[in-house]
Amino acid sequence: MAINILMPALSPTMTEGKLAKWHVKVGDTVTSGQVVCEIETDKATMEVEAVDEGRIGQLVVPEGAEGVKVNAVIAILLEEGEKEVTKVAAAAPAPAAKPAAAPTPAPVSAPKPAPPTPVPAASGDGARLFASPLAKRIAVDKGLDLSRINGSGPGGRIVKADVEAAKPGQSAAAKPAATAQPVFAAPGDTRVPHTPIRKVIARRMLESKQTVPHFYLAVEFEIDALLAARQAINAVTEKRGTKVSVNDMVIKACAKALRDHPECNASWTEDEMIQYGAVDISVAVATDRGLITPIVRNADMKGLAQIAAEMKDLAARAKAGKLKLDEFQGGGFTISNLGMFGIKNFAAIINTPQAMILAVGAGEERVVVRKGQMVVRNMLDCTLAVDHRVVDGALGALFLQTLRAYVEQPAAMLA
């Protein structure tokens, strides 16, 4: 199945750029991490690496093309066995769509939008809610969500009449965004109504950023051994139709590390800490409806091939909007990978009520110093965001130390 290579966003504000130079031509075989082209924006020029392996089937955007929209298809990669490009994806300014390269057993797996796009001021959610005591009590009785109710009292206070008028389950008169700084659409701007998933993302991310005390631990893993192991594994599993990605291996490594540190596989509640018995890993997947996090359950007990197969299935169904509720609700830890976009490193927002999220950047060759010598190694940047209520700095660091052992010596995962 052909894989689209998309125009990456080099910064959160980038909307288009120039394809300065192709480093590959049709028919070339590329491996993950290989530079395929250079992109130029008003700010910088950057090399874009292949995320997947395959043969270049078509260069959709010619060299020197300007104004190439972010997420437009710039090239098509053929996987082994594919003869030619059967369907040419609409050229250049493709709709901002499926950024994810692959529902395939692809390399570095599904992405998650970086720290949620510039959130327009504060949405009403999470802000202090003004409601009369009586209104609050009636709301509890009726099972109403006060944050979805318009207050008609002084200063927008929610009063009895408002909750009495609202019906359970109804998203009441949608509360106007109590933006600190009102955002108005000027002529030429487009008003895009919120989808349900967008509202959930907005509410949950805001709640997390506002109520969870995040701290961040950044590490750099050497992944040569991991890449070698992956090739060796795939040499075997591919015959059975499964291809293990770097991300699948990161899932497994995290699962093993969590099994070693049950205090990290935990959630904060007001009364006590909940440590989870099972190691369930949520993996952020971008869909054209928005971000969703399907779960690989009991990942510590599963083999890489099984994880890869499950992930492929989950990602495909996530994109098709066909996940079952229990397939994306729950989980004790989240992995978010933006490596395929050439993101070197980033910090993610904790997926509450989980305590940690690992943000995985792009693997790349870097010059590092080993035994006093400059050598070239494949390096991978990861940033762990941690809920300080659950996990202290030292514990978070210990977790990363354990994770490093699994990532850098993948054979340990067999233990």
Binding site: S132, L134, A135, R137, D141, G153, V159, K160
Partner: protein
């Protein structure tokens, strides 16, 4: 030449009208008031305020008569009716002048005269004003607020004559206090005069057509008040009608029918306090969309009459006949006209009512019977004055505070009080109702000790079986 064109003209300078005018001026509207008699209206000149001055006299007099109970020796207590009335008039005049001062301070034009709607001129309402100095002037305004108030209802055969049969007005300025008095009607006005004259030594009979006195109050309050008044020597006839008044030179003989039996009583004076009627006459309402129902102007929740640019507030616009209701209405109507954001209609169940008899009566919200009639599950608490330290220290052990909650939601549905100073306490529950507190917040509130207000706390606790001091 004086200005004749305004943003808002208020017809009537009573508590509703002058407050509306001040609020309008605060909002930067060019405002005028037309008042035919006194700024401050009945409330300030012939109602709430002067009667409070009289009742203060009777309260102090009552205390002095019981000086011995406080360890004081006071001999030969007497009073001078003329001085009592003078004081009351002085209080009223002081406040009326105060209102005039407020008009000046807020740059509100005051026209001393009688106004009448006189059609419109484009979008402007025209008002023909017959000035008290016999001149006339035509005023125009974008909006007119009718705040003409009300006057005593005159029942056929019981009309006040100003000499033997008094309305509230004569009752407030008697040349001498009567030795015996028949009060017809036991609403707030009738009961306050009955209480005043009884304390000042008159033989007082109260005649109420309904089956209980203070009929708008909670039944328990009515019953308690009746017992308290009877203990003071007042005679109370309920379910009673006065069918005939025979007037002699300085006496009136009334025929009263109660329980199927007719009896005659002879008294010095009669006070007729059988309700009020709205002042809707000669306002030029004919040919407008303003509707008069049962002597009152019909309005919507924003005081709008249906006639473009014409609003009504206060007593002329319907019950309850209370100055604070009129003031609040005045403010909300003006704010609505001015386009102020977040204006809320008034909620009848959040308007407190006070009667300044001895013992005082105050209430807000639903009576127990009204709450039951709504089919609500109730939690009712009652706490007596006898259980309150401050009440005992004051020598005021009579009365109670009753609270009524919706058992399901904890909403404070009503509060009913009788006893010393309860008119000063009721505002606590007014705030509670406006803020929509439940029993939980009231229970969590710290009430100062020792105060009468502790009973407000205890009553709430009692409703949930948690009262501490009884």
């Amino acid at each position: 030449m004086a200005e004749t064109s305004f943003d808002i003209i208020v017809v009537g300078g009573g508590p509703g009208g002058y407050v509306a005018a001040i609020r309008a001026a605060q909002l930067g509207l060019k405002t005028a008031v037309v008042e035919r008699e006194h700024m401050g209206g009945i409330c300030l000149n012939w109602g709430c305020i002067p009667t409070k001055a009289l009742l203060r006299t009777s309260e102090v007099y009552g205390l002095i008569k019981h000086a011995d109970a406080f360890g004081l020796s006071v001999k030969d207590v007497s009073f001078d009716a003329k001085k009592i009335v003078e004081r009351s008039r002085k209080v009223a005049n002081q406040l009326s002048n105060g209102v005039k001062g407020l008009m000046k301070k807020n740059k509100i034009a005051v026209f001393d005269g009688t106004a009448k709607l006189a059609g419109s001129e484009g979008a402007l309402r025209k008002l023909a004003v017959a000035m008290n100095d016999k001149s006339s002037v035509t005023l125009t305004a974008k909006n007119v607020i009718l705040a003409t108030g009300a006057r005593a209802r005159q029942l056929p055969g019981l009309e006040s004559d100003g000499k033997l049969v008094w309305s509230y007005k004569e009752a407030m300025v008697p040349p001498a206090f009567p030795k015996s008095l028949l009060v017809i009607g036991s609403g707030a006005i009738g009961i306050e005069f009955a209480s005043f004259y009884r304390t000042m030594g008159a033989e007082v009979t109260v005649c109420e057509v309904l089956d209980r006195i203070l009929p708008v109050e909670d039944e328990e309050v009515s019953a308690f008040a009746k017992r308290a008044f009877e203990k003071q020597g007042m005679k109370i006839l309920t379910g009673a009608t006065v069918s005939n008044l025979k007037k002699a030179a300085n006496k009136v003989t009334a025929t009263i029918t109660a329980g199927g039996k007719a009896q005659e009583i002879t008294v010095d004076r009669v006070i007729s306090a059988v309700g009020i009627v709205g002042n809707v006459e000669d306002l030029g309402l004919e040919g407008t969309k303003v509707k008069v129902e049962k002597t009152h102007i019909a309005i919507d929740q924003w005081g709008f009459t249906g006639e473009p640019g014409v609003y009504a507030i206060g007593d002329v616009a319907g019950p309850p006949w209370l100055a604070h209701k009129a003031m609040h209405e005045g403010v909300l109507v003006v704010e609505k006209i001015a386009g102020v954001k977040g204006v809320h209609p008034m909620k009848a169940e959040n308007i407190p009512g006070c009667t300044y008899c001895q013992p005082q009566v105050a209430s807000i919200g639903l009576t127990e019977a009204a709450a039951k009639a709504k089919g609500l599950q109730l939690k009712v608490g009652k706490f007596p004055f006898i259980g309150n330290g401050k009440a005992i220290a004051l020598g005021e052990p009579e009365g109670f505070i009753k609270t009524i909650f919706d058992a399901k939601t904890g909403e404070l549905l009503g509060a009913h009080m009788i006893g010393a100073e309860v008119t000063e306490l009721i505002q606590g529950y007014s705030i509670a109702k406006t803020l929509e507190t439940t029993e939980a917040e009231l229970m969590a509130t710290v009430f100062p000790h020792p105060t009468l207000s502790e009973m407000m706390h205890e009553s709430v606790l009692a409703a949930y079986g948690r009262t501490l001091h009884i």
